[in-house]
Amino acid sequence: MKDLNEYTPEQVQALLDEEHWHDELQPVDRIQLKPWQQWVFWGLRIYVVVMCVIVLWAFTAGVHA
């Protein structure tokens, strides 16, 4: 593979223009989760904690490998 300095400035500029590498990325603004989304995520947090406790218990108690 060629080094960057083996390409001409025109070639580099053409790629930057074509693929918009010189543009700033679109900003990603923060949005608030809707109440139902918050409920679902909290539910999933509880699910994760409960399941981790069960897996840990099963592992330490030798219930499964």
Partner: protein
């Protein structure tokens, strides 16, 4: 260089890190695309475009996954789990394809999008899930490398640090392109399990019939603890949170754009094909060479190697051990990178494998430290972690629904995704996958805590 410096005047240092190398890689791809469309040139271009999809799916066939497949084959023989691998391959494709679009369209990693879109509160949760699962998984990778190395007479005090050194060196001192090519070479060795299964001389007619319903009867029933844990573990070897973070960051670091999405899908399809092929090979191997062993689901790696030596000979045992080392190594390489990318994105650090260690030491350091911690655990002699594997695979599936929900919300964010947002069919399939994961885990939890509730045998 001056063109780049003057053309990207407002980009932050974090975003600019490694940009020169990425532009060089893109110029290389553009040059390949301009070549006459001969079969050879097309092949060279296709080879240049592969990477994230193959790495994520073959990295997914990790040391823990290989052991899980062997245990599955030993426990259930040539039956339901063989066609199930095709289903899991489809699920993996559906999930991972979304990360390609998300990365190529937004040019941002998964952790960055979660933090910026939904704030650090939820971002921390997803990051903690990821890092925790990654370190646990890395322990199982080093365990596989340790045991695989011992089969060749290499003491673990040598195999584990050497592997750790190799992974850290490639991550820190190679730039993205070279890192990806070396990782792809290692990943290709995952196919060592294919000749190994041929050595086992399975009854191919029985293998074929398993895809048509033969042998699907599950001893103990589908609510038995053994079936549910192996089902959860097999799902956990096919889709895991690190894969979402890894592939999206990989797509971004490679500089892939919306026009590269079709090529990236082919790359992923190739990876899924490889994953399914190897998984089926190991299950068939387990069915042929390990069936009849007591407590198949509790088989340790050492027990698998011993049984292979007894039943198929020294060469087969060593091939399996080699495959185990390879599987552990490639998974360690990609999971270490996924940790680094995710932390770098969340904390808005320079976060590119194209960035030099001096420029981006804060990006490399957490990934390296996490991997050192996992390797350190495995270096303790007589550590009772031989049975850790299945638990880690199950934990991966436990973390998955929350990770998938963030993914789905981002994929339905038309402000971010525009025309590349998910359609109703993709959403429907994804929700079914999430609910299926949760149902499978809840059943496993119930049967584990109340073993006689559903009349299934433990």
């Amino acid at each position: 260089m001056s063109v780049l410096e003057t053309s990207v005047p407002h980009a932050s240092a974090a975003a600019r890190a490694g940009l020169q190398q990425r532009i060089r890689d893109r110029l290389h791809l553009a040059a390949l695309r301009r070549r006459p469309a001969t079969p050879w040139n097309r092949l060279v271009l296709a080879f240049a475009l592969i990477g994230p999809g193959l790495l994520v799916m073959l990295g997914d066939n990790d040391a823990g996954g290989v052991l899980t497949y062997a245990q599955t084959g030993a426990a259930y023989g040539l039956g339901l789990f063989l066609p199930l691998m095709l289903v899991l391959g489809f699920i993996a494709y559906v999930v991972q394809e979304m990360t390609i679009r998300l990365g190529a369209v937004t040019r941002r990693g998964h952790a960055e999008l979660i933090w910026k879109r939904y704030g650090p509160f939820w971002g921390i949760f997803s990051l903690v899930d990821l890092v925790l699962a990654n370190i646990l998984t890395l322990v199982t990778e080093f365990l596989g490398i340790r045991i695989g190395g011992e089969a060749f007479g290499i003491p673990y005090a040598l195999s584990v640090p050497v592997t750790l050194g190799f992974v850290v060196m490639t991550l820190v001192f190679l730039r993205y392109w070279a890192w990806e090519r070396i990782a792809l070479f290692i990943a290709s060795l995952n196919l060592v399990f294919v000749p190994l299964v041929l050595m086992a001389h399975p009854h191919w007619g029985a293998v074929a019939r398993a895809f048509a319903g033969s042998g699907w009867v599950i001893p103990g029933g589908m609510l038995s603890a053994t079936f549910l844990i192996l089902l959860s573990a097999n799902i956990g070897t096919s889709i895991a949170p690190w894969q979402l973070f890894f592939q999206q960051s990989c797509v971004v670091d490679k500089g892939l754009l919306p026009k590269d999405i079709p090529a990236s899908r082919r790359d992923l399809m190739l990876g899924v094909g490889g994953m399914v092929l190897v998984a089926i090979a190991v299950i068939v191997l387990g069915a042929v060479a390990l069936s009849g062993l007591p407590d198949a689901k509790d088989l340790t790696t050492e027990a698998v190697l011993y049984a292979l030596q007894q039943r198929l000979g020294e060469t087969a045992m060593k091939l399996f051990a080699l495959g185990l080392i390879e599987a552990g190594l490639i998974a360690t390489i990609v999971i270490t990178a996924s940790t680094g990318w995710a932390i770098g994105e969340a904390l808005d650090l320079p976060r590119s494998l194209n960035a030099s260690p001096g420029q981006a030491w804060r990006f490399y350091a957490p990934a390296v430290m996490g991997t050192i911690a996992a390797a350190g655990v495995v270096l303790f002699p007589h550590l009772p972690i031989g049975f850790l594997n299945l638990s880690v695979q199950v934990i991966a599936t436990v973390f998955m629904p929350a990770a998938m929900l963030f993914l789905l919300m981002l994929l339905n964010d038309r402000e971010l995704m525009g025309e590349h947002a998910n359609g109703p069919v993709r959403n429907g399939v994804s929700v079914v996958i999430m609910l299926g994961l949760i149902a499978c885990n809840v059943l496993y939890g119930l049967v584990t805590v109340f073993p006689h509730t559903f009349g299934g045998t433990p």
